[in-house]
Symmetry: C2
Subunit: 339 residues, 2 copies
Amino acid sequence: ASQSHRQSALDHQAQLTKPAGSLGQLEQLAVTLASLQQTNTPAADRVSIAVFAADHGVCAEGISLFPQEVTGQMIANFVTGGAAISVMARELNAQLEVINLGTATPPPLTDGVIDEQIAPGTANLAEQAAMCDAQLQQALLAGDKAARRAADKGSQLFIAGEMGIGNTTSASALACALLGAAPAALAGPGTGLDSNGVQRKVTVIERALARHGDDPAPLTCLASLGGFEIAAIAGAFIGCAVRGVPVLVDGFIVSVAALAAVRLRPELTDWLLYAHRSQEPGHRLVLDALNAEPLLDLGMRLGEGSGAAVAVPLLRSACALHNHMATFADAGVSNSGND
Amino acid sequence: ASQSHRQSALDHQAQLTKPAGSLGQLEQLAVTLASLQQTNTPAADRVSIAVFAADHGVCAEGISLFPQEVTGQMIANFVTGGAAISVMARELNAQLEVINLGTATPPPLTDGVIDEQIAPGTANLAEQAAMCDAQLQQALLAGDKAARRAADKGSQLFIAGEMGIGNTTSASALACALLGAAPAALAGPGTGLDSNGVQRKVTVIERALARHGDDPAPLTCLASLGGFEIAAIAGAFIGCAVRGVPVLVDGFIVSVAALAAVRLRPELTDWLLYAHRSQEPGHRLVLDALNAEPLLDLGMRLGEGSGAAVAVPLLRSACALHNHMATFADAGVSNSGND
């Protein structure tokens, strides 16, 4: 991030034909992007979206309403264009990648899917570590490769999405371990559990944490309680920061991946913008831990990166206003008595 | 609004490849637009933005940081393309109209400005009625004409913006009279007053309300405490509802105009969508009185219709998702055990 570009952007905002500060968070967004992109004309035109998909052994505990085969089916839906994130990628004219890190049931088609399969899903984290260290390294590397592809394409913004039946259980357990929080404070309905279902999820996470112990080391937590897609997202975010690509963080699961990544590499913090507050109740705690002020709060809880995609036009508006508004001098408009 | 289209839209949402309800307010937006537009494929592609500008005699009381000549200067900035709403209109490919209802200082250019001048600003509402009944009717009619132009163009969404130095004082006084609220609960910093300035504004509004009395009749309140642009916006919203054009309500001042319009024509309520919660503190009370749940809360307080313009992509995303996502059956994706 460039302090000189940040200051130039702040000075420019003060000259635009509007009361100082009257564009609120849009002003801060433009200034932040100018600083991260080291430019006087920040932009979010070239957007890369990478959806990471994987299955979760913890589904054996009956913690999701959807059958596990849906992970593979949705991989096909992503590439054939029918999923929410596919529709949004078209609307945004964004690059969409779908990365398969391993499913219990093979996707019904593989054309257009990037193959990074590690195993047909993680182990059941209620009973043993979700993955071994070698698998964790594979997942982190798969994420880093996605970041490298985005940087190579000149992307001005990176969005990670996730798909994996059962992954709110994994993300909740991981957040509990990273934050030292109680499962009841993090576990939520996910795709639509009733209160009995949420209670079952809490019990499963309690068993996982009893096995895991209280080790908050991010790599240990990721291997013990994470998912392949969650670890890959952490790897992708670290890879984006290293390569100078700003990240727009999606909802609950992606935010937990971001939390793990920030614990691993605190210098990542500056590169993360936050799109929305999910309806999943644990998201609030995770956002607070990240000092995040998300742009939207629309009661979304779909995942796939959809919340981040819906927020992209706000970044584009912020940039357009920053780049194209007239100054008081250019427009011949009198400024306030304050200035 | 069509109940059959509403039900069809709800049924369609339940078939899309996502957990039920997981797109939150975006689902409700698509369903509402389908119902208002009486269609299975709601859209917010053709957007009309009308910015109503006028001056306010209450500026004699020193309630704004900006000199009154800025109203006319900004009219020129709107049509030459340098203002925030001009930039946003281009980004959205929206129609932008600028309507001059009367300024203290003539705008430095008039090309492209729609001339609906009533007088060189209202009278000082602290001392006398802001306008006479004939002027109020002229303003309401100017708004209705804008609604008719939008309907004639086949607009799928109407946005009203406002410009008028001093108009947060008028809007706050008007809201107090309509709601029976205390000036201190409504008056805010506007374009940037400090606490002494806000206190002066409260005193001015108290004088205006002492003169006005406690008559909450909307036409009486509009003439006594309103502005030409505020009355025009009320007229435009009533005209949109009559002609079947949904409205996206901007910030504090436009919301007060909407409140006056709803008090005048309660059947207008269904046609109003709410874009954002302004940083102006009185907006919360006005939104509560309208049972409004705005989409955005970004600390904006610029006016011009800018907050509504920034929210348009959310409506477009909601429509694109509704119209283009695959169904469970089409995509071969298994639904949850719930369904």
